[in-house]
């Protein structure tokens, strides 16, 4: 981020918007592929493993396909970047806090995974911690890292120290 959070947020929004467009293109193609497979194998049990963020279930249903949906568990929690992408995709208002959170959450997640936490627990815990941070706090963090030469060399560790100093349990 180099201390320029606003610029980073604008770039991130461009990136997530692009991801949304790519996802739409993929899903449209995948739905056609599934319909073809279904029509050729109506007597067979077809199981589709697909990311929950992709709303292909609704499109298949809309197209008259006999489809059901299962989840590994409920409630399903999306990583913050996916939450932001879904808001962009469906025109749901989002806050600048969420954009800033989506930028830094993967660094916290990586740190927690490196500590030995499972990937799902690391995602959930990093979501919980980072969701509490406001845009202004993330701006302070960004400034702290950019103005400290040691922090610039070890940004993840610096972020953890910064979070701990502010009482966030990590």
């Amino acid at each position: 981020m180099n201390g320029k959070l606003e610029e980073a947020c604008n770039k991130a929004l461009e990136f997530y918007q692009l991801e949304v467009e790519i996802d739409k293109k993929r899903e449209a193609s995948f739905v056609e592929q599934l319909i073809e497979l279904y029509e050729e194998n109506e007597d067979k049990e077809i199981l589709v493993l697909y990311g929950a963020a992709h709303p292909i279930y609704y499109e298949l249903k809309r197209r008259g396909i006999n489809v059901k949906r299962e989840f590994p568990y409920l409630p399903l929690i999306f990583p913050l970047p996916t939450e932001l992408e879904r808001k962009l995709r469906f025109g749901i208002p989002y806050t600048k806090d969420l954009v800033a959170q989506a930028i830094i959450v993967s660094a916290v997640e990586t740190y927690l995974r490196d500590l030995g936490m499972s990937s799902i627990e690391a995602m959930r815990k990093s979501n919980r911690i980072v969701r509490k941070l406001s845009y202004d706090e993330i701006k302070d963090l960004s400034k702290y890292i950019s103005e400290n030469s040691l922090a610039r060399k070890m940004p993840i560790e610096a972020m953890v120290v910064w979070l701990k100093k502010r009482g966030y349990e990590i």
Binding site: I22, K25, R26, S29, F30, Q33, L34, L37, Y38, N41, E42, D43, K44, E45, I46, L47, V48, L49, Y50, G51, A52, H54, I56, Y57, L60, I65, N66, V67, K68, R69, E70, F71, P72, Y73, L76, I77, F78, P79, S118, S119, I120, M123
Partner: protein, 96 residues
């Protein structure tokens, strides 16, 4: 028969008992592959894994290595037909 979408987050924990039950019942498993360049490799790899238990021709490039490993354990020697997503997206497009 209905198509069943197992909507998950690509975490190894997602491939739980619920998935195992659905997998045992299915005839065809369809897996997600984001880029078109991987279609042939992944389809060949997973079908060889399913039918003969191994494949040394190709490799799987996973989003989450633990998730991928666990999925492969289910598929190995299962004799299921494996189909994979034919993505219109190229690696080049993703990198740009």
């Amino acid at each position: 028969m209905p198509i069943t979408i197992f909507a998950q987050g690509h975490f190894p924990e997602d491939l739980n008992q619920n998935f195992e039950n659905l997998f045992k019942k299915c005839d065809i498993l369809v897996a997600e592959v984001a880029v078109k360049e991987k279609y042939d490799d992944v389809k060949t790899y997973l079908n060889q894994l399913s039918q003969i238990g191994y494949s040394d021709d190709t490799f799987l490039s996973p989003v989450n290595p633990e998730y991928s490993w666990k999925l492969q354990e289910f598929i190995k020697n299962s004799k299921k037909q494996i189909e994979v997503e034919k993505s219109p997206i190229s690696l080049k497009e993703l990198k740009n």
